[in-house]
């Protein structure tokens, strides 16, 4: 196989094969020769060609300044060129580029649309959840209990473990400082306030957002991609009521319970340090803890848990329904859902902190 470039006659002739194996070599050879004016491509001795070879011939013809003709083309190669030539294929118009201002406008417009659909979805879920307590029609039997098990009970283990470690660390870190001033007993105050008001609800919300929020978003997104949601609609079943309302009710019930478990186990983690490292008795620890805690602290902690829960489930449902494309889309909305839910939890926590300070 070879290529012969005759600059004088403005002729290129190929011999042997012109396939994926040698097209690049010939392409580079032609580029090096800097020949721009080709009158004839002779294929008399060409025995084998594939689509890359035909693309090379098309490329030569396209770049030639004068009209190029193919000479002595064997029958089979002529048929292949007829089928695989790109000469007569018009170039599709390039995708128009968006200018920065258009991009910014599009972002704002899409954000407004998202906000609108989020508000509509939220109001629909809330209204259907309230009416759903009295009228179970449109919901699957046992779905709320099933969701309580999935979103609540199954999270107890991981929340307990992490809360114990968190309480343990909080007590350990503060013990070293408190010991210097003989203020060992105040470790109970610190644990009580931080776990009940901040760390318990926050820790639980972050775990639930990562674990249950992602599972809700991916479940709904997959259902949308595989047309399960459309199937429900064609059966005259409201997918929001059938799929999302049980999740909303279940998380509303489970979240305060999970926060209570988290706070209790976190305090036990702190108690371990108080008893073993600070030489406090169990009785004095709990006496100090209960004298510090007020009903207001409990209300703050528990009321936060409701808002965190609603934020997680609503964001997950919203992103799940927003999915586009296939498996790739499911992954994208799941990630976005978790990030947005955790962001929302922190924002709500900041609002609560400001609200209760005033």
């Amino acid at each position: 196989m070879s290529i012969n470039i005759n600059m004088k006659d403005k002729t290129i002739s190929f011999k042997g094969s012109l396939t994926f194996e040698n097209v690049n070599t010939y392409y580079e050879k032609l580029n090096k020769s800097k020949i721009k004016d080709i009158n004839i491509i002779d294929l008399q001795n060409l025995e084998l060609i594939d689509s890359s070879g035909i693309a090379l011939i098309d490329n030569i013809i396209h770049n030639s300044v004068s009209n190029t003709t193919l000479n002595n083309v064997p029958k089979q190669i002529q048929d292949a060129i007829h089928t695989f030539s790109s000469k007569n294929i018009s170039l599709s118009p390039p995708v128009p580029k968006t200018r920065p201002l258009e991009k910014a406008g599009e972002l704002v417009y899409n954000a407004m649309l998202d906000l609108k659909s989020f508000v509509f979805l939220t109001s629909e879920i809330v209204i259907l959840s309230i009416t759903g307590i009295f009228n179970r029609k449109g919901q699957r039997k046992g779905s709320i209990l099933q969701q309580c098990l999935l979103l609540g009970v199954d999270s107890v283990g991981i929340i307990s473990l992490l809360s114990f470690i968190l309480g343990f660390i909080l007590a350990l870190q503060s013990a070293a400082q408190l010991r210097q001033f003989g203020a060992n007993i105040f470790v109970a105050d610190l644990l009580a306030i931080s776990m009940v008001r901040e760390m318990g609800p926050m820790m639980t919300a972050i775990i639930v957002a990562g674990r249950s929020g992602s599972s809700i978003a991916s479940e709904i997104a997959t259902m949308k991609v595989t047309e399960e949601i459309d199937a429900l609609k064609t059966m005259a079943i409201n997918p929001v009521q059938y799929i999302m309302v049980p999740k909303f009710i279940a998380i509303t019930v489970c979240m305060p319970l999970l926060v209570t478990i988290s706070v209790s186990v976190g305090i036990i983690g702190g108690l371990t340090i108080a008893v073993t490292y600070l030489d406090l008795s169990v009785a004095s620890f709990f006496h100090q803890l209960f004298s510090t805690l007020t009903i207001k602290d409990e209300i703050i902690g528990l009321s936060k848990s409701f808002f965190f829960a609603w934020n997680i489930v609503l964001v997950a449902c919203f992103y799940g329904l927003k999915v586009e494309g296939g498996a790739e889309g499911v992954g994208i909305v799941t990630t976005k859902s978790v990030v947005a839910a955790i962001f929302g939890v922190i924002i709500f926590d900041a609002i609560f902190s400001l609200f209760y300070m005033i």
Partner: protein, 246 residues
């Protein structure tokens, strides 16, 4: 002289305790279109996936281009995969990249062709399946039939020596289906491809089949030409041709 590119002997494939293929023996002749027929769940897709090492057979032998491949490692099987194109039942396009980029994958990964040549090949391959207008679109923006055609473009991007198509006509309108069959015939004649097709479309089978392999409940009941198949006294096969489609 053996004129087959793939020889399968006594191939047995199991999923757990369920045997899908029972000692299947068949051969795929060179530069012919072989159609694999059979009812749903008879093991057609399993058979071609076993040849491509996407399933691991329990026992038997698979010979490709004269070499035993069943015991080859995935790494050693790569040269064979470069000679093969596969059109999956659902297209199996990568959703995160455009149609053009999907077709470019084998060209960029397995050749050192310059970009202008790759661009030309992509355009030609998409034009062959009437999808040149969808070059910048993403798979999620395509219909089911368009996805299948785009996937065929990707499968033939490297002009493979053997092309496997799992139900290429399913979900396509009759005109597109006929055009696809004509393209398959052109690929066979002009690029000397060997083509293996799993299909239930009787019209398509009549247009393109040189050879038929008829599977039933994991057994090969018939292998031969289409004309001989119609004359063969095999009740399951006769029923297939008399009823129309499974």
């Amino acid at each position: 002289m053996n004129n087959s590119v793939i020889d399968i002997k006594n191939l047995k494939v199991q999923y757990g305790d369920n045997t899908v293929l029972h000692n299947v023996s068949a051969s795929i002749p060179k530069n012919k279109i072989t159609v694999i027929l059979g009812g749903s769940g008879c093991g057609k897709t399993t058979l071609i996936k076993s040849v491509l090492k996407l399933h691991h057979p329990t026992s038997g032998s698979i010979n490709i281009f004269g070499n035993e491949t069943i015991n080859l490692s995935d790494e050693d099987f790569v040269p064979y995969l470069k000679e093969v194109g596969m059109l999956f039942q659902n297209g199996a396009l990568l959703n995160s990249i455009s149609v053009a980029d999907n077709v470019a994958i084998p060209l960029e990964q397995h050749t050192n062709l310059p970009k202008p040549i790759i661009d030309r090949i992509i355009r030609v391959k998409l034009e062959l399946v009437n999808l040149s207008h969808a070059i910048h679109l993403f798979p999620s923006e395509l219909s089911g039939g368009m996805k299948k055609r785009a996937a065929l473009s990707r499968a033939i991007a490297l002009d493979p020596k053997i092309l496997f198509c799992d139900e290429p006509s399913a979900g396509l309108d009759p005109i597109t289906s006929e055009n696809l069959d004509n393209l398959i015939i052109k690929l066979k004649n002009q690029l000397n491809m060997t083509i293996v097709i799993v299909t239930h479309e009787l019209a398509s089978i009549h247009r393109i089949a040189d050879e038929i392999i008829f599977l039933d409940k994991g057994y090969v009941l018939y292998q031969g030409t289409l004309n001989d198949a119609k004359k063969a006294r095999i009740p399951e096969l006769n029923r297939f041709f008399s009823v129309g489609t499974y």
